[in-house]
Structures are given as C-alpha cells and as structure tokens.
Symmetry: D2
Subunit: 127 residues, 4 copies
C-alpha cells in the first residue's frame, strides 16, 4: 500500500532535512492507513481491548528528505505470527529509497500483555 | 520560578531556529515544574479527577532561539479564579526576552467539564 | 480554504486528546496549503530571500480533538499590511469549532529582519 | 554516561505511554550530552564542516515509560571506525531497562558526503 505525504516545516530540523525521529511518525501513519485499507479500524479494536504496540524498529537512513518534498511511503506485512506482525516499509521520493524500516508490532490486551491476534484480523490482513 | 532548558536538534526546524510550536512544549514543562515547586503533583491530581486543560494561549515571538542555546523559562501566575488560572511566562536567553506568553488553564473534572479548583490547591499556589 | 487532516497517535497525549502544541503544526500546514493554493511556493520564495515568520499567535481551545478524528482546517487572511499578514483559522470536526486562532506572520529577509512583502505576493494573495 | 530526563505530557500519546518516536529524541539528547562530556561541541564542529548524521537505528521497546516518570539514559560508544560511530544506549526507570538502542552515526562534510572523523575527535572520544 502507498501513502503520500508532504514534508512541512515542523518535520525538519536545523540540518535542513527531516528529523530522524519524524520518519517513525510517517511510518505509524502509513501502518494505520494499511490497517484501514484492510478494513481494520484500530480505534474500534482498542475499544474491545486489542492493541498493537511497537516492539522493535530497525531503520536505515539512506538519503535525506527535505522541506516541501513529496514522499511516498510503501507498506507491506512480511510476517504474521500468533502475537506479532512484521512490517517492511520504504519512504521514497520518486524512485529513490530514502529510508527503509522493519517494524515488529505485538498484539496486547488492556493490561498491555501479549495476546493472540484475533482470527478475523489475521484473515483481514491476508486479503 | 525559573527552569533552564537546552535546545536540541529536535527542537529546531529548517529555518535554523526553534520551531514555533515547540515553545508551547517548553511552556508546559515550565508550568509543570511550577506546580511541582508549589508541592502540587499533577499526576496525583489527575488520579483524583482534577485536571488542568489549556483554554487559551497568547504568545509573542520576539527573537528566535537557536540550536545549542541555553534558555531560561520564567513562570508566574498572574490571576487565580474559581475555575481558571492565568500564567505569564517568558523565555529568555541571558537578559533577552525571546518569547512571552499568557496562558489560561481551566480546571476540569473526569468528564472534562469545568470544575472549581480545590481549595488546598489554591492555597498551595498562594505560598 | 479548507484542508482535511486525520488525527494519528503521534498527535495525541496521555490525556487522550490532541496535544495543545500540535494544533500549531496543523495551522502551519494549512497556511502552507493556503499559500500554495494562491500559487505561492514558500520554498522558492525563501530561496530568493523572502520568508514569513510567526510573530504572534492567539489560540482558543474550545473542545478537544481525539485519536482518529477527521478535522477540517479553514484558513483565511484577515489583514494584509506592508510587512505582515494576519490569518484567522478554525479547526472543525464536522460543524463544531474545536480550535480557533489568529496568527500574525511577518515578512523577513535573509538576515531575519522585517522587509516589505513583494508586490506580486500581495497580488497573488488578493486573488 | 548517564542523563536524567523527566517525562512530560508532550512526550506521551493517547495509549498513556511515551510515544515510540519520542525515545529517539531522548537518545539524540543523550548522545549530544555524551559528546559534550568528552569536550566535543557539535555546534562548533558543524561550523567547520563536520557533522554526524544517523545512518541506522535498531531499537527495542521492552516496557513502556509513563507520564511523570523519571528516566535515566545511559550512553556508550561500542565501535569507532574511520567514518562511523556505533552507540549503545539504554533507557531505564530505576533498575528496569525500558528501551535499548544501537545507533550508527556517520561523519559527513558540508555536502553531506561521508568523511573521515577528525583525529582529535577520535582522541577525545577515547578519553
């Protein structure tokens, strides 16, 4: 799935480029849209006690994005397990990969303890 | 009350200065420390259903702060009413005022409705 | 002009609502889109030494926005002067005004000193 | 080296915990203080055309930090190479490790191209 995103002033730092932590905001937005695209509403899920929390991120910064750039964020799931999902995401400007990231989300219950991902969610993600 | 704060990369934008919204983070931190200094623990207060929410901010940007600057944030209460508090705050670099702000906080209950500020809080703030 | 914006996790705080400083990011984005809509490219402008910096913000927080809300940000210019522009902006969820703000931008040169707004910019803004 | 940091409202999200991207801000602050502690002023360095940019982060989120927590961020360099430095950092609340991260910084010149780390910097880091 592809999400398009424009870089605003608040995304940048005094080095003149997007601040390294802000890509994690873009990645969160893109994962949310990925779930949404599969018919999964994270807000409703959290109300019935199913939440996904980030367990690990590996992120490579290859080339900087700048103010007023238009970026495409590509999101896919590369592994589905009982309590976790692995995402692979790329931030591109036109054909150039600026940033790539692998993120592991863990499904947790209201007490923030790991819990199996509901079967219908797994099925929605497989569509 | 004075709080000292160093400017890091994540506070700045590609204009080379502190991003205008980030001063509101500094102001929040300084108000929290002000309450703390008066013996008021905002976390405990919220657990008994008393919260302060920001109702209005008037902020003047006079001169920019830059990366690696050390700033002093001065905080005082200029008005105490039944359900609201008015703060006046200044962000200085040495003797120079960079930013000044007037902020109105409203006391709310768990349903986020305005509620009288508890008397002991008013008393603590008057010390 | 209207800009639509979805609220993500990174916009919220542990009070369960959009953090008060983050509305200033929304307002910046909406002003940028306003300029863009008038044919004004802020990045190109800055390259010829014309920049707009925020001089003052008055912002009223009337009702909170929450995670996954879809917000509309309405932007208009309410005053044009030789070196400054005054914006009035409203953040709405459907018909409800959540936040309103008046922002004064000042035109500055490369040395960050006030400078007249170029005549063609004034004309573009009047269209 | 240890840096102490208090969690404020703006660090948290509506899940009630510190937002995952914000730890990268803490890590940046702690690395800056680490350099500072070794007598290295990153601002002055950048003025002579030596900058460090983040090339890769691996971060593990083990347990969440909450509003008003006091955190300790421990920073050490685990590898020094010709153009890169590898940091290992831990965010702790008392004895508990909440987050650990490995970060690779690359030394770049004004054109943002990789460049050898100056010998005196290597020496300062070895003290």
């Amino acid at each position: 799935m592809k999400m398009t995103k424009k870089v605003y002033y608040h995304d940048t730092d005094c080095g003149g480029v997007v601040y390294y932590a802000n890509y994690l905001k873009y990645l969160e937005e893109a994962r949310t849209e990925y779930f949404c695209d599969k018919g999964i509403d994270l807000k409703k899920l959290s109300q019935i006690g199913v939440m996904f929390v980030v367990r690990r991120v590996e992120i490579d910064y290859k080339s900087p994005a700048k103010y007023a750039d238009t970026l495409d964020i590509f999101t896919q799931i590369t592994r589905k397990k009982n309590v976790s999902l692995e995402f692979f995401q790329e931030v591109k400007r036109e054909d150039k990969v600026l940033v790539s990231a692998k993120t592991i989300l863990v499904s947790v219950n209201k007490e923030l303890r790991p819990a199996s991902i509901p079967q219908d969610i797994i099925e929605s993600l497989s569509k």
